[in-house]
Structure formats: C-alpha cells, structure tokens
C-alpha cells in the first residue's frame, strides 16, 4: 500500500520541525519522518543559549527551543511525526521508502523537504581509530542526553563553535579539559565561547595539531605539535598529553545521500562544507517538488537552519495552493531574517558559498536554454 502525503519532511531536527510548522500553518498536511526515538535532532543536547534574535528564540537554551518546537509539532493537527522512521530511498517515480520499526513503508509525497542535517568529520593521524577518539557531538550525546560522564580527561581538537561549546559542556559535567588544539592560527568559533572556557583555565593552542594518538586497547595519550604557517608540522615541538578521550570537532559535512539518490544536481562548495544540492531562492532543488533546508544544503548555525526550514515550508505549502499570498509574504520575511543573520562578518563565508551555488544554478539554466 502506498500512502499519499502532501508534504513529507525528512528529518525532525531544527530545520525539519520549523519546515513542518511553517507548511502546516498555511493548511498543508505534513508528515515528519524522524529516524531517532524522538524528534529534535541535535537540539536535544544543546545546553547552551542560542545566538541570533528573538525570532530564532535567541537567549534560550537549545534544549528548550527543541522542546518548544517538538511540543508545537505534536499539538498541530496538521502535523504527524513518525519516529524510528528512516527514509531509505527516493525513487524516480516519486515514491519514498521508509524503514519504520522493522516495517517497510511506501509514501507518495506531493512535496518533500529534505532536512537530514550533517555528520561529523574525521581527521587523519596515526592511531585515530582507538576507542576514546570520539566526535565532539558524540561526547555531547553521551553526557547531555544519556547523562553518562563521557571521560575523565579530554583533549579537544578544533576551536570552532562546536569544539568551544562542547569543551564548556564537558567542564559542566565535571570532566577535565586539558586543552583545545586548533590547526588554524586563530580561533574559528565565537570569541565569547572561547573567553568562557579560557577563564575557566582551559588553554587554547592555535597553530597546533595532533601528530599521533597512542594506547593499547583504548586511548592513553596524544602527541600534539606546532604547525608552521603552511600547516606543516614543526619537528621538535612535540608535546605528550596523557588523556583518556580525544574529541574531534573538525567540522561537519552535509548528509546528502537522499539528495544524490533523488537526482538533485549537486556541487562541491567548500564554503558550505561539502557536496550540497543546488537550491533556488525557495530552497527547491533541481528536482521539482524536492526542497533542501538546514545543514544538508550547507553547514551553518542552528538558528539559520530553523529559518531555512520555515522558508522551505512556506514555499512548499504555497506551491500546493495553500494561501499563496500569505505564503509569499512569510517566505519573504524568512528570507529577510536569513539576510540579517548572515549580514555580519561571520556570515561572509556562507554568503560566498551561496553565491557559488547561485552561479552554478544560473549556468545550468543557461545551458538548458541553449539546447
């Protein structure tokens, strides 16, 4: 049996929950497929307060924002949330297949919004496969979702926002953070996060990297060393740092398997942190009716992911004929919010990336006309 759905949202994280709420607010019926036991995505472990403006709930903790979005989704009669539901295929005939509690479900959506988020990047160095070398997000899950003390002594790699925030959260869980190693000559994350952990006594070693990790059955220590301005290791600068856990916070990469499978045109955009689907101003991919919002179309902050989700939700519902004028108006407002969030120095990188995708899309349209 095939189930007909108006708007299918794949992934119940910040972008997905906001996309569903937006589409449902205009009258569309939405099904969210979430692979985890609960929706919320990575918001469920973000114990820090979010930045942005009040439109993105700034000043509230990520977990509280998550709870609010989940509650809104559950209370909205136009939204159904299917948990433990992993979308495993998007086919040429428009059928989407879902693995749900040992059952195989087929869905025929009129519109699909892909909000699958991202996964953590890895780093190459000898010994990097030892137990105790974890993604920073993994450690965050262990301590903030399960309430398990993840380590006794941690070395963090990466002084971007995730590395800084997770270091702070490790301190809150009573874990010793021996330092943060950052290859770049400068801190990449927000400096207020850096100052927060620095005044708690955690040193930030910019221009340093992990040379190797050692241990027998699990991690016992890490050798770090300095880097020159060409990011080459400087011999003789090695430092042996005993620790039971090494956290890698070296960036995220968009989870785009479904975009590839659906036939969306993809491009590698460095500023967006990997291969991303080309999307237009409505966040619609090159496959009509399939939208992509949040980290899947470029790594950015959760506040932007929420606004992108809303934008795609309004556009999708509007295109189905639900209050097109209101949909247009709200889409415009969301676009203005995104511009505001990205207008400062921290938004420069993402804007450069988006410019590249826009250029590729324009070139593609030009080619299509040429044929």
């Amino acid at each position: 049996m095939i189930r007909d759905v108006e708007v299918l949202v794949i992934g119940g994280g910040p972008a997905g929950l906001c996309a569903a709420a937006a589409a449902a607010s205009l009258g569309a019926h939405v099904l969210i497929c979430e692979r985890d036991y609960v929706p919320g995505g990575q918001l469920v472990k973000q114990t820090h307060k979010f930045f942005g403006s009040e439109k993105q709930y700034a000043g509230d903790r990520g977990i509280a924002i998550g709870r609010r979005l989940i509650e809104e989704a559950h209370q909205n009669p136009n939204i159904e949330v299917l948990t433990e539901a992993t979308v495993i295929g998007i086919y040429e005939d428009g059928i989407v297949t879902v693995f749900h509690r040992n059952q195989h479900i087929k869905i025929r959506p009129k519109r699909t919004i892909i909000t699958t988020g991202a996964s953590e990047k890895f780093l190459a160095f000898p010994g990097n496969d030892l137990p105790g070398i974890y993604g920073a997000g993994a450690v965050q899950t262990l301590m903030n979702v399960a309430g398990v003390k993840p380590a006794e002594k941690v070395l963090m790699v990466g002084a971007g926002n995730i590395g800084l925030i997770v270091s702070y959260q490790l301190l809150q869980a009573g874990v010793e953070v021996v330092g943060i190693v950052e290859a770049a000559p400068r801190i990449g994350g927000y400096l207020v996060h850096a100052s927060k952990i620095r005044r708690a006594g955690v040193p930030i070693l910019t221009g340093h990297t992990v040379k190797e990790a050692y241990g027998k059955d699990k991690l016992e220590g890490v050798i770090v060393c300095k880097l020159d301005e060409k990011f080459q290791q400087i011999s003789g600068t090695e430092q042996d740092i005993p620790c039971d856990t090494l956290c890698l916070a070296v960036g995220l990469t968009p989870l785009t398997e479904l975009c590839w499978q659906a036939g969306c045109e993809m491009a590698f955009i460095r500023e967006l942190s990997g291969h991303v689907p080309l999307v237009d101003e409505n966040l619609e991919t090159t496959v009509p009716g399939i939208y992509a919002a949040g980290d899947v179309s470029g790594i950015e902050e959760a506040s932007s992911a929420m606004v992108e989700g809303r934008l795609a939700g309004y556009a999708a519902a509007g295109s189905l004929g639900y209050e097109p004028e209101k949909a247009h108006e709200r889409r415009e407002a969301a676009a203005a919010e995104l511009s505001e969030l990205r207008s400062g120095p921290t938004g420069e990188k993402i804007l450069a990336g988006l410019e590249k995708t826009a250029a590729k899309l324009a070139a593609r349209k030009g080619e299509a006309k040429g044929c």
């Binding site: 953590e120 137990p131 105790g132 309430g147 398990v148 003390k149 809150q172 989870l255």
Partner: protein, 103 residues
C-alpha cells in the same frame, strides 16, 4: 559512570535493568542506548577491525558512522549507539562481518 547532578540538565533514565555484555552482567536503564550503558560501565572497546583486529569504539553516537556495530541477541551489525538497551539483552563483540538471515 553516570552523572548524578548537572547545572543545567535533569536526566530521565527510565527503569533500571540488567543486560549482558560478552556474558558479563551489566547495569543499564531503559531510556539509555546500549552504547551509553556500556560507556557508563567503563566499556569503550565495542569491537575490532576485520583485517588487523584493532580495537574499535563508537565515533558519532547518532547512527551515522557504523563504528559501533555489535551483535545483539544474535543479530549482527546493530548500531548500539542508537539502539535502546532492554532487560536481558545479549550484547556481544562481533566476529566477522555478519550474515543476513533469510527469514
């Protein structure tokens, strides 16, 4: 070790149960994943690499990377980081790549 107090969070772990890791009885809670319960018991090695037998632990803890495959109640290749623990569950380090059942 489990956190008993936290400046921001309260934890709802569910009911206390026991399960088995390589035959050894381990404490867990029904709202925990297998990986979290093992980690709380100090178990970080979850498996080994096929070629060199190097020890393997979890990496992403959210079901993306497959580094935490174990055999659970006889079923191989279970991502223990996203599978909740249940009373009496038998969790074992996996030998080989696992066989797909034909039932």
């Amino acid at each position: 070790m489990r956190l008993s107090e936290h400046p921001i969070l309260d934890f709802d772990r569910g009911e206390r149960i026991t399960f088995y890791y390589n035959g050894q009885e381990i404490e867990g809670y029904t709202e925990e994943t297998i990986a979290a319960a093992l980690h709380a018991a100090g178990i970080r090695r979850l498996g080994h690499s096929h070629e060199l037998g190097r020890p393997r632990g979890l990496f992403c803890a959210i079901g993306n990377c497959s580094s935490c495959f174990m055999t659970v109640d006889g079923e191989p290749n279970v991502r223990v980081c996203v599978t909740k623990v249940q009373a009496g569950m038998r969790v074992e380090e996996q030998e080989g790549k696992g066989v797909i059942r034909n039932d």
